[in-house]
Symmetry: C2
């Protein structure tokens, strides 16, 4: 039987899960692909951890660079994370003619252009299914399953930690500060949760999908990112009573003017399937010209769900390592010479509908003022609702962000309105 020799660098959560899944399901996998996927070598700085996991069945080293240079290894699985050592390891592996499988979204989002160029030059594959939405095979769906389509947009719940927090806030009526602490105690959030709660992790994944969906370079620096730390319990409840669900969405949309690339808390209609995706689960909705709407749901993180995607990539590599380049799917879904440098739209020119919350004591006077200001800025009001003695909620129609911001400044200057407005974006996803 054909044999694929795998070297795993990094035996943390995902590395351990990958080793476990490859070992436990070895027979099933080889029945499917006719290849013996053999873990030839593992590398981890913590040799004790590595030895405990492999239990003498696999050679262990603490030198990642020895692994990527080893003649015993055909494919390097990079599961270190981050983009310092991980980047060096991946580039060195490519230079040595090894194929690479990685779950590292930060690395691909920030340095993917460089990495894929190196891989093309070396004639090796760099596979990264696990980098986006964990175990959901969304890269394969976008790159191969939906390849007949022009995509209009991709929108997803791409971060389990924030979806867990928002679900808990909604279900238990807790404030963000209370839930984040609980999430850290339960291991759902890291000690420094910045990447998750500020939407950076979701942006990494979104940027990768935008490249595959639209045939553009990876442009992480141009993504707009807004997290959930400022979300008030009040607005989650108000949204719900108005028929909306609040989710941290990553949205990338092709428009005549360019591509939108944005992560922010978003109100979506409660009857949209994405609105029912709760807890730590992820989902990606795709709108395309031929197939219409499709959706992909599953665990976006965790040892074995992520390992599921890593191993699927290993199987693809095992199948195609002897094949010509033209027999492999293009790394980012488009032929290298066909990638187009489409402009990313700054958030100021993005169009959206809005949810606003204003503080007003004389609500009928304030409502009259709001209607006047909105008319001046040509923003159609869908609904003004009195939600409490002081809270007025306004749902608007679609307008350009900078116009909404100007209207908000005018509203905040009104004598009938106290303090700042809360502004949240709304998407119909229809």
């Amino acid at each position: 039987m054909k044999k694929l020799n795998v070297g795993i660098v990094g035996l943390g959560t995902v590395g351990g899960g990958t080793y476990t899944v490859l070992t436990r399901n070895a027979e099933e996998i080889s029945r499917r692909i006719g290849v013996d996927v053999n873990v030839a070598l593992v590398a981890d700085k913590d040799l004790d951890r590595a030895n405990e996991l492999t239990n003498g069945k696999t050679t262990v080293t603490d030198d990642a660079f020895a692994l990527v240079s080893s003649p015993d290894v055909d494919v390097v699985v990079e599961l270190i994370g981050g983009y310092t050592i991980a980047k060096d390891v991946v580039l060195k592996a490519i230079e040595n003619g090894k194929h690479v499988v990685t779950a590292n979204k930060a690395l691909i989002a920030l340095h993917g252009n460089e990495i894929f160029a190196a891989a093309t030059k070396a004639g090796v594959m760099v596979a990264y299914e696990a980098a986006v939405a964990g175990g959901i095979p969304i890269i394969k769906a976008l790159r191969e399953g939906l390849t007949a389509n022009r995509h209009q947009w991709v929108a997803g719940i791409l971060n389990g930690t924030t979806n867990y927090i928002l679900t808990e806030m909604r279900d238990k009526g807790l404030a963000y500060q209370d839930v984040i602490g609980e999430a850290q105690r339960l291991g759902y959030a890291e000690a420094d949760p910045t990447f998750d709660v500020e939407g950076i992790d979701a942006a990494h994944k979104l940027v990768i999908m935008s490249a595959i969906a639209f045939g553009m370079p990876l442009k992480f620096d141009e993504a707009y990112t807004e997290g959930i730390t400022q979300i008030a319990q009040t607005d989650i409840q108000y949204a719900q009573t108005l028929g909306y669900s609040m989710k941290l969405l990553g949205i990338t949309k092709r428009t005549d003017k360019g591509v939108e690339l944005r992560v922010h808390p978003t109100l979506i209609p409660a009857d949209q399937l994405v609105a029912s995706v709760d807890g730590a689960m992820n989902a990606v909705a795709v709108q395309s010209d031929a197939v219409g709407p499709t959706l992909y749901y599953g665990a976006g993180a965790g040892a074995e769900p992520t390992a599921s995607a890593v191993v699927a990539d290993l199987v693809d590599v095992a199948r195609l390592m002897g094949a010509d380049e033209s027999e492999r799917p293009a790394a980012l879904g488009y032929q290298v010479d066909q990638v187009q440098d489409i402009a990313v739209l700054p958030i100021e020119v993005v169009e959206s509908a809005y949810y606003l919350r204003a503080n007003a004591t004389d609500q009928s006077a304030a409502s009259a003022d709001i209607e006047k200001v909105m008319a001046e800025y040509k923003i159609a009001i869908k609904q003004i609702v009195q939600k409490s003695a002081s809270d007025l909620v306004i749902l608007t129609d679609v307008t350009v962000e900078k116009n909404m911001d100007a209207a908000i400044a005018a509203l905040e200057a009104l004598p009938t309105i106290t303090g700042k407005l809360v502004k949240l974006r709304m998407e119909a996803l229809g």
Copy 2:
């Protein structure tokens, strides 16, 4: 640029959609794959229809067998449907060394074992993504994306017509007979809707997924099939008030004793994502050991959604037509010599929870009798609810079907119960 010469046989709804998508998105597709997908020849008995669609841009014939023998064609796209001429066309194409793409679930479910054997012998690919759940790339997900996993079960809403009918019955309070007529007028159901409403179409698709999920032959003859024609409005409403949604599900499950393969109306908890899949949409839920639960949602039928899957298959064929057999995914997900003849369990030995509706005037006496009978048959009752002056609904725990049937016979013999019971299966999908 590399060129793939395609011959399309059958220019009905899906054939027309495939031609349209290939033409409209030709540039996008070739930017992705670096191959010019060229429709070289089309065949349809109705030459006027064919000429109108192709508008002089493609050679037209009314002889399908001339097309499958033409040296101008690399891949034959079979979109005739049915399993008489379609089977001959596909086998002849294979014999001529052509690759085949088909959307024909009946053909694959009934004759797939023979067709794939012929394809293996001839060294050609037979791709059928469009045969299951239309535009949802579920074959690719099961065969490649989830290949690291042992699957526990696959359950899906696999037929848009019946899901539309059940949704309309629920939302408008109509009887089956009223909705089927409306669905026929609107084109959602065929003049003879038997294949859809009796669950046969869903069973075709389920059988294909069972083969890929569990590495077994296609066993359509052994699938249990129960349709929706007997579903009463009453039970849909009662289910809803009890927190369940009624869906026609195709379920295939691996157990210690064999594989379940069954299509029937099923009550599922309303908070399961599948319960929110309404109208003509499809969804497939998969439970696997590493990734856990995943779900795939989209349009299960229609010209362009189905074409999306057909064209994705064409792209895979274009990529891999020059490759070795070992570089192509196995047709049914497992190496041919690794397929195991797993037994399909007859419905009598399948375990399920149940929803029963009994007609009883003296409901407290009937309840006491029911509890006694259920205790005799060792069936745990989760709930007995009086739903009207005559209707008692009983929700049971899991038991074997033949035991439930024996208990029902005993219940129907009770003097406190009038007439027959309604029996529906319930699945937690958890």
